[in-house]
């Protein structure tokens, strides 16, 4: 029987538009020192941290092997250190597997991304496209999002009003989170009047440029009490990869997310979306919140507009944090979702706390228009 795994502590810096005054190493060091302070963890080779998982992206960092510039500040010297270059939620799943398998008792997880560092994050994501058939057309995650937005809005009957409501709600909820990116509150009219970027996507339909760093300490059940009296258990994880080319996918319904969810639900003991009290979905754009809600099985396929009209996001506690839409950097949108679920399951979510919560779902996606999906089930 595999061992149970818990997140015992978490730390973050505030999401900001431009942390020009700190290197990413410094951003991580703040998270690292907070974790040490919170838990008293050591780097003793017998009882302390021997394995570190980091999450970062070469192109956003403008250096390859982007982990090797900060292994010292995350305590990885002479220890196992491995890097996840997909959304950080996969790093969490990887750290979970390391403990479940008995490879180690403790894993330190750290992630960072400074979107502001490059002149254009769209130039970064253009490099996710291969050089013969797609990159020369200028495709990037924003224009791929525009294509997916049209496909999904047509299928599910979503209107501009629906998107505006998702954005206004995101900004309102995020204002209750002291670590959320500070954004101006917006009205429906302001969303509808914001400039079109990639029709039908407008500027305010898309997450803003954000810098952030985060850390977590994971531990096996037997030793979790050494670090916390409020462990949050990781009970299910699943991932699934869709086709590479946009034309080979159904952009309006994510079978990959459906499969990732089903794998996570099965591992968590055969639960389903009805058993989940909080959903944190990786919505880089407003249309993705209902699209991913369909993918995880919360909403029947194609019912996204009806679900929004019926106050589904509030009734089902979806993205109480404001979601990625309020501002988390790419590569960490899913890990930010798990962090929010962690605080909620500990009863530490302040003004955004959901009462009586027992189980949450965190979702992360990597690649244009949601190519890869990961789903994590968390319980208290």
């Amino acid at each position: 029987m595999a061992r149970r795994v818990a997140i015992c502590a978490a730390a973050q810096i505030r999401n900001e538009a431009n942390i020009w005054y700190q290197r990413f190493q410094g951003m991580l060091l703040e998270c690292f020192e907070s974790l040490v302070d919170q838990t008293g963890l050591t780097f003793d080779m017998e009882t302390g941290v021997r394995n570190v998982v980091t999450c970062s992206d070469d192109v956003f960092d403008a250096r390859t092997i982007s982990d090797n510039g900060m292994t010292d500040v995350v305590g990885a010297h002479y220890r196992g250190e491995e890097k996840m270059a997909q959304d950080g939620l996969n790093g969490l799943g990887y750290a979970m597997a390391a403990i479940m398998s008995g490879h180690d008792d403790l894993v330190l997880l750290l992630g960072h991304c400074k979107e502001s560092q490059s002149e254009s994050r769209h130039m970064c994501t253009n490099l996710a496209f291969e050089p013969f058939f797609t990159r020369p057309l200028g495709l990037d995650f924003l224009s791929a999002g525009g294509l997916q937005a049209r496909a999904y809005m047509t299928r599910a009957g979503l209107t501009e009003d629906h998107l505006a409501e998702v954005v206004v709600r995101s900004r309102r909820l995020a204002a209750a989170n002291p670590f959320a990116r500070e954004n101006a509150a917006v009205t429906h009219q302001a969303v509808a009047a914001s400039p079109l970027l990639a029709d039908p996507l407008r500027e305010l339909h898309y997450y803003p440029v954000t810098d952030w760093a985060v850390g977590m300490l994971l531990c096996c059940e037997e030793r979790a009490h050494e670090f916390t009296d409020k462990p949050v258990w990781l009970t299910g994880f699943g991932s699934s990869m869709d086709s590479y080319y946009l034309g080979e996918r159904d952009l309006a319904f994510s079978t990959a997310l459906q499969q990732a969810s089903q794998r996570a639900f099965k591992m968590a003991g055969g639960v389903d979306a009805r058993d989940v009290g909080l959903f944190e979905l990786n919505d880089a754009a407003a249309y993705q919140m209902p699209l991913w809600a369909e993918g995880v099985g919360l909403v029947p396929p194609g019912d996204g507009a009806r679900w929004l009209d019926a106050d589904g996001p509030d009734r089902h506690q979806v993205n109480r944090s404001g979601g990625m839409l309020n501002g988390n950097p790419l590569m960490l949108g899913g890990l930010a979702r798990a962090l929010e679920a962690f605080y909620q399951l500990r009863g530490e979510a302040g003004d955004r706390q959901v009462d009586g919560l027992e189980r949450a779902l965190a979702h992360g996606t990597t690649g244009p228009a949601g190519q890869h999906h990961a789903v994590l089930i968390m319980e208290n």
């Binding site: 505030r14 900001e16 942390i19 020009w20 005054y21 192109v59 403008a62 002149e119 254009s120 769209h122 130039m123 253009n126 050089p131 013969f132 058939f133 797609t134 020369p136 057309l137 200028g138 495709l139 990037d140 924003l142 224009s143 525009g146 294509l147 937005a149 049209r150 496909a151 047509t154 400039p195 079109l196 970027l197 990639a198 029709d199 039908p200 996507l201 086709s243 080319y245 946009l246 034309g247 080979e248 952009l251």
Partner: protein, 155 residues
């Protein structure tokens, strides 16, 4: 930024990643590109097992895992728009001044639409289902842009 953050001795430097590469297109990709370049024909591959014609072509069907290396079939240079976006944010990696249209085009005989530029029509008049045809480039780039763009045509 925290209001008390000390920014003395904080400065930034400019940098750039600019690294020339030579990419191998793969055997299947090479044949697609040379056929497009030299004969103005758009080629796909057909997986007999799932009866799917893939454009761009691929060596292996990721669903059936069958080898498609010799399963070539020509698809039309005409097709219809199944989806589109209008790119309106200027940026260095873009192939055209904005605004321009990126459309997903299902070519005659293909099962997977390709993304390409759609020109010769104001962006606000582009509609799903409209018929379009390829306009081949006069100079080669040895990429999908040996089709310069697609333009509207009679259905």
């Amino acid at each position: 930024m925290q209001s008390d953050f000390d920014t003395s001795d904080c400065y930034t430097i400019e940098g750039k990643l600019a690294l020339p590469y030579t990419y191998f297109a793969g055997r299947v990709g090479s044949r697609f590109i040379t056929t497009l370049r030299d004969q103005h024909k758009i080629m796909g591959v057909r997986c007999a097992a799932c009866d799917t014609v893939f454009v761009p072509p691929r060596q292996t069907c990721e669903r059936c895992l069958g080898d498609l290396t010799d399963s070539w079939c020509e698809v039309g240079s005409r097709g219809r728009v199944v989806n589109f976006t209008v790119v309106r944010y200027p940026d260095r990696h873009l192939p055209r001044p904005v605004p321009f249209v990126l459309a997903m085009i299902l070519l005659e005989g293909a099962d997977t639409p390709i993304v390409h530029l759609l020109e010769g029509i104001p962006p606000e008049q582009v509609a799903v289902d409209m018929a379009v045809e390829a306009v081949f480039a006069e100079t080669t780039t040895n990429t999908i842009r040996d089709i310069d763009h697609f333009k509207p045509c009679d259905a």
